[in-house]
Symmetry: C2
Subunit: 126 residues, 2 copies
């Protein structure tokens, strides 16, 4: 089992990529098959599979094979340690859920209607 610090390394590194954050946002709505996760993005299925591997290694998702389809499921508990770490640096007021919904919608809209190009994924205004 990983140390708490090594676990944080994996979680934060996983979150540092916009494609992976978009995947998490998609999975927030419902479990999805790998192919369906990949659909909005311009990158190859293999690349998405790698991203899912990174997310799984960080514990942020689990994957379960049913027949020939592998279902991806969000595991929000993996964010707990990271969230605890971050919170104490800011003493932020409680989350404004409306604001977050809008932000999330913009990330999802970016993924679904105009798939991430590599440029957009690394620096664009998704």
């Amino acid at each position: 089992m990983l140390s708490a610090s090594a676990q944080l390394d994996l979680v934060f590194a996983a979150l540092a990529d916009p494609t992976r954050r978009a995947i998490l946002a998609m999975l927030l709505e419902d479990d999805m098959a790998v192919t369906d996760v990949a659909h909005p993005f311009e990158i190859s299925l293999a690349a998405v599979s790698k991203h899912l591997g990174v997310l799984a290694d960080a514990g942020l998702i689990t994957r379960e094979r049913r027949g020939r389809v592998i279902w991806c499921k969000l595991e929000p508990d993996a964010l707990r340690g990271a969230s605890v770490w971050m919170q104490a640096f800011g003493q932020f007021e409680p989350l404004d859920l409306d604001q977050f919904e809008r932000f999330l919608a913009s990330e999802l809209a970016g993924a679904e209607t105009a798939p991430l190009t590599p440029e957009e994924a690394s620096g664009g205004d998704i």
Copy 2:
């Protein structure tokens, strides 16, 4: 100005390194000179200076020259966007400050009494 997504990239990437997290924890206690920040770590001063550059690029710290000393100051507001992003994935209960204090103490103790070797920094039980 960076897009919200690009800003998250920088912040999460900055947090993905245990040395940088240890630096942030040190700055949580007080502003520090670069040399003093570097002191607990085994790596070179230049390496620490680079870490500080990464943290500054992410907006997590600011640096101000006073004489020949550069003072580093934590900027917790830079964590707000990342915190908002994360919170909605978990709906976590309010932060347990005692638990966090203990965790933070262990990270600081690790940095101060047994400086990070490269091995420890990347996977060790700091």
